[in-house]
């Protein structure tokens, strides 16, 4: 229950940040970049989408799915085993993808994007919570 509350909270934070990035992109505005200063460079680089889908949209879909699944697991909307498996799988996939994007910022784009790092840390924290709750 506690782990689901934390996962839900982190998903909600992820939703708010991806919605902000999507809004900024649609309005063609530069997002606020409190740390690093390379947000615009990273967000407009050629790595900002997978095939034709922008990364912020993919992130939003992931966080919305994670929040719904966490809520389903708390309320008891079945099949619970299936939902938990999907949650673990999607967080594992998101963790690997976030590692790849962090590597791209570090070694390829040579710029750090505050929002991308925040999203990466959010997903890694979600992964840590799932790992720890499985061990306890």
């Amino acid at each position: 229950m506690t782990s689901y509350a934390l996962l839900f909270t982190l998903s909600a934070i992820g939703i708010s940040e991806t919605v902000y990035l999507i809004r900024a992109r649609i309005k063609s505005e530069k997002p606020v970049c409190p740390i690093g200063g390379g947000c615009a460079l990273v967000l407009t680089s050629k790595y900002n989408k997978i095939f034709i889908v922008p990364n912020d949209i993919l992130g939003l879909l992931f966080y919305v799915a994670a929040s719904f699944i966490s809520a389903f697991l708390v309320i008891g909307v079945g099949p619970l085993v299936f939902w938990y498996f999907i949650l673990k799988l999607s967080v594992a996939f998101g963790t690997i993808l976030s590692l790849f994007f962090t590597y791209l910022q570090w070694r390829v784009v040579h710029a750090w994007c505050f929002w991308c790092l925040m999203s990466a840390f959010t997903i890694w924290f979600m992964g840590t919570i799932i790992l720890v709750s499985s061990l306890i």
Binding site: A5, F8, A12, S16, V19, Y20, A71, V74
Partner: protein, 140 residues
């Protein structure tokens, strides 16, 4: 309010509303137990259904705040909702927390009121000098 602090408050309050909505969905009867008997007696529908309606309202308010969509309206409805909760659940050990949430919702609403609402509100106020003595008017 500073823009960053506004967004911190908005997302924090959104998560609170969303999570309470989820918890009410999990066990609506238990949450219905917080209602005072006089308030439960006023309900035209079973208490569980009323609580599910409350959960839907909480989640809607939370979603609006989280997506930054009409935050002033969501905060306004949220504040009214909390006032109703305070009235119908009576004074308990956790009333102080509801008061904190109420003030947070009011702060969000006041800070995000759109210009047209402010203009409408100002129009309703009497203009300076109206109904005052000539001596006071001359001071303006």
């Amino acid at each position: 309010m500073k823009k960053t602090s506004f967004h911190f408050l908005r997302v924090g309050l959104a998560i609170t509303f969303l999570w309470i909505g989820v918890l009410i969905f999990k066990n609506p009867e238990a949450w219905g137990g917080y209602l005072q008997p006089w308030a439960a007696g006023l309900l035209p529908i079973p208490i569980a259904q009323a609580m599910i309606g409350t959960a839907i309202l909480d989640i809607t308010i939370g979603a609006f705040l989280l997506l930054d969509f009409l935050p002033w309206l969501a905060a306004f409805v949220g504040a009214i909702h909390i006032i109703i909760v305070l009235t119908t659940s009576g004074i308990t050990d956790i009333t102080v927390r509801d008061i904190g949430l109420l003030v947070a919702a009011l702060a969000l609403m006041i800070d995000s009121l759109p210009q047209w609402v402010l203009k409408w509100f100002i129009k309703k106020q009497p203009t300076p000098g109206m109904g005052q003595s000539p001596e006071i008017k001359n001071n303006y």
